[in-house]
């Protein structure tokens, strides 16, 4: 029998506020995986931690700001992106990342999301999409698939959800990707790539919410949801049409993952004084 090695250190020591552990998330939740990917990408980025800032809104994913050991701002519901916009423009040396959820970013913050993408503001947005409002107990939101059960959609969600990559592409984002909490390596690489990509970067990460979404939608547990991702995820290719990558869980349809948009539009730069003609 080999000797068990106990490490006193965790690879993410330094980027996580260990004094804030344990976190608030339920067993099986995917947010922690995504936070870990973000932390690892920060360590890999070569950018000093003091120049990384995380801004979040409200909800389970919004709590990430409180767990990252760096300058962090836990703002109002939906307003993480405009807060981050002001911060980045006031101090362009900062690497500003918005880490929040689908409800926060695409519903109450939806207007800010599309306008920041249109302006191509140089911020990185990590959107954990769990198809529901987790913290308030599983209500329908802008990403809840048609027909899915939610506490505010007891007869099945009557609304069509956003296809987030399509929305962000149309709005003008420089870089748009989607992965799932199962794709930890890809998420980490994608965030790292985002740090090096000027302009508005949007990374959607599908995540299980076993308590708020899975339970009422016949997904046995978080593992079952991850298995579903494994079975149904298809890597985007040149023939994939972005308007068709919306998520519909009713049928055995593909879930498209990968990079959808990679443009090189110049990021927003504040106007500078010009001598008048």
């Amino acid at each position: 029998m080999s000797e068990v090695q106990i490490s006193e250190r965790h690879p993410l020591d330094g980027v996580i506020r260990t004094d804030r552990m344990p976190h608030i998330w339920c067993a099986g939740c995917g947010i922690g995986i995504v936070m870990r990917c973000y932390g690892q990408a920060i360590l890999d980025s070569g950018i000093e931690i003091k120049n990384h800032v995380v801004v979040s809104g409200i909800g389970c994913s919004g709590r990430v700001a409180g767990y990252m050991n760096m300058d962090s701002y836990h703002t109002t519901h939906g307003r993480a992106i405009p807060f981050a916009t002001g911060l980045k423009l006031a101090n362009p040396d900062l690497m500003v990342t918005v880490f929040s959820g689908d409800g926060d970013l695409a519903a109450i913050g939806g207007n800010h999301l599309i306008h920041a993408a249109r302006r191509n503001i140089d911020i990185k947005v990590i959107c954990v999409n769990n198809f529901t409002y987790g913290m308030t107990g599983g209500q329908a939101g802008p990403t809840t698939p048609l027909g899915a059960m939610a506490t505010t959609a007891p007869f099945g969600n009557p609304e069509l959800p956003f296809n987030l990559p399509f929305l962000l592409s149309a709005a003008g984002a420089n870089y748009v990707s989607r992965w799932t909490a199962l794709h930890a390596r890809q998420v980490r690489q994608e965030i790292l790539l985002g740090f090096n990509k000027p302009g508005f970067v949007f990374i959607e990460v599908l995540s299980p919410c076993p308590v708020g979404f899975g339970k009422s939608n016949r997904i046995e547990d978080a593992l079952a949801e991850l298995s579903m991702y494994r079975d149904r995820c298809v890597l985007v290719d040149k023939d994939t049409r972005i308007e068709q990558v919306g998520i519909d869980l009713r049928e055995e349809r593909e879930i498209y993952v990968g990079n959808f948009v990679d443009r090189d539009q110049l990021p927003y730069t504040p106007p500078r004084f010009k001598e008048e003609q």
Binding site: D71, P82, A84, T85, G86, L87, A90, N91, N111, P271
Partner: protein
């Protein structure tokens, strides 16, 4: 237009422009805003002027975003401002609470128009003054000024930035359409004569022990550190402890909210400003602010010409309200007349303080209150 930051000299200047120039002179380097009458000229002026002085102007998608961006810019160390009118001010109430809770300084300008709802976009009102005090949910305190001239649009904008930074509190410049759109003489001092009160900053280095929400000084204001300085701080709208970490306990909540409210209350004497005319021997005192105080001063002068001992108290700070001065006056004054362009808002505060009724000259907005009805009220009070 000049590329100078401070336009030292005599000007014949628009009130909204004087506000914009006051912001630049105070060191404002970020403006996030959304067009709305009658405040738009502030945004237009700063869209041209901020790039000239190395600052950032951005037109946001709405006033929710404007206010969030302003607070974000201030968290990054910039003096930051937005300007709006009633409908936009309603949207700003959400993030006003965030700025209060995070103790991030910011200046919000409201050029008031006829309200509620869309109301009278191009005409004056003073009906957001209670909203300024209570508009965001919860118990909190802010500072609000009411300028009555383009000169004060300049001076009080400078003061707004200084007060916001000094006390880590949002400051609301509650102007009105008359003052915002008035063109009058404005004297801009030399650069070295513009007052500048810096933010209180941490003494401990970034790796030392610094509790960003521990108020150790008598003024209850903790020092502030900015993003990127290495302090690794957490700011949240949730109830938080001295570290800035969420703490969902009743004791922490009570202590925090009490301190945030007392921060303004305990420093009220230093913050409060009033302007007074003929109060030494006055039996009848008119209280008015903003553009209405211009009419009220005329009424009081006319009354004096008729031998009536009338005076004017003009609160420059609406919040905190000059409570002590009013209490002093209440000991000798026979009657109080309150003139305001709303249906009686500050009058409520005055009645609370003097513990008695006031005579109100109220108008819902749309046109300035003329000197005559105020004079008539003075004469009636004198005849009693």
């Amino acid at each position: 237009m000049s590329k100078k930051t401070v336009l030292t000299g005599q000007h014949f200047m628009h009130g909204d422009h004087a506000c914009a120039e006051g912001a630049l002179a105070a060191g404002c380097r970020f403006f996030g805003g959304y067009p709305i009458t009658p405040s738009t000229e502030i945004a237009e002026r700063l869209a041209r002027r901020l790039p000239e002085v190395g600052g950032v102007f951005i037109q946001m998608e709405d006033e929710l975003g404007s206010t969030a961006a302003v607070i974000g810019a201030s968290a990054g160390g910039a003096r930051a401002m937005t300007a709006t009118s009633g409908p936009g001010f309603s949207l700003m109430m959400e993030n006003l609470g965030l700025a209060v809770m995070m103790e991030i300084p910011c200046v919000l300008v409201n050029i008031q128009r006829g309200s509620p709802s869309t109301g009278l976009p191009t005409m004056a009102g003073q009906s957001d003054v209670m909203q300024a005090r209570w508009g965001s949910h919860g118990d909190y305190a802010i500072v609000a000024y009411a300028p009555w001239s383009p000169q004060e649009m300049f001076d009080l904008t400078v003061l707004s930035f200084n007060t916001a930074d000094r006390y880590r509190v949002p400051v609301l410049l509650m102007a009105d359409e008359v003052v915002g759109h008035m063109v009058e003489r404005v004297e801009i001092p030399a650069t070295g004569e513009i007052p500048y009160w810096p933010r209180k900053r941490p003494i401990a280095p970034p790796n030392g022990r610094f509790l960003p929400f521990l108020a150790e000084d008598d003024d209850l204001v903790p020092p502030i550190a900015h993003a990127g300085e290495g302090y690794k701080l957490h700011f949240t709208g949730l109830t938080h402890d001295a570290f800035g970490y969420p703490d969902m306990t009743a004791t922490t909540h009570h202590d925090l909210v009490t301190r945030l409210k007392n921060k303004v209350g305990r420093n009220a004497k230093k913050i409060i400003r009033v302007d007074e005319y003929y109060l030494d021997d006055a039996d009848i005192v008119v209280i008015a602010y903003g553009c209405t105080a211009r009419s009220a001063r005329r009424s009081v002068r006319l009354a004096r010409q008729k031998g009536i001992r009338a005076g004017l108290l003009r609160p420059i700070t609406l919040w905190p309200f000059p409570e002590e001065r009013l209490k002093e006056l209440a000991m000798t004054v026979d009657s109080f007349i309150v003139a305001e362009m709303n249906l009686g808002q500050i009058a409520l505060e005055i009645e609370r303080i003097i513990r008695g009724p006031v005579k109100g000259i109220f108008h819902a907005g749309g046109s300035m209150i003329a000197p005559e009805p105020i004079l008539q009220a003075i004469e009636e009070a004198n005849g009693v």
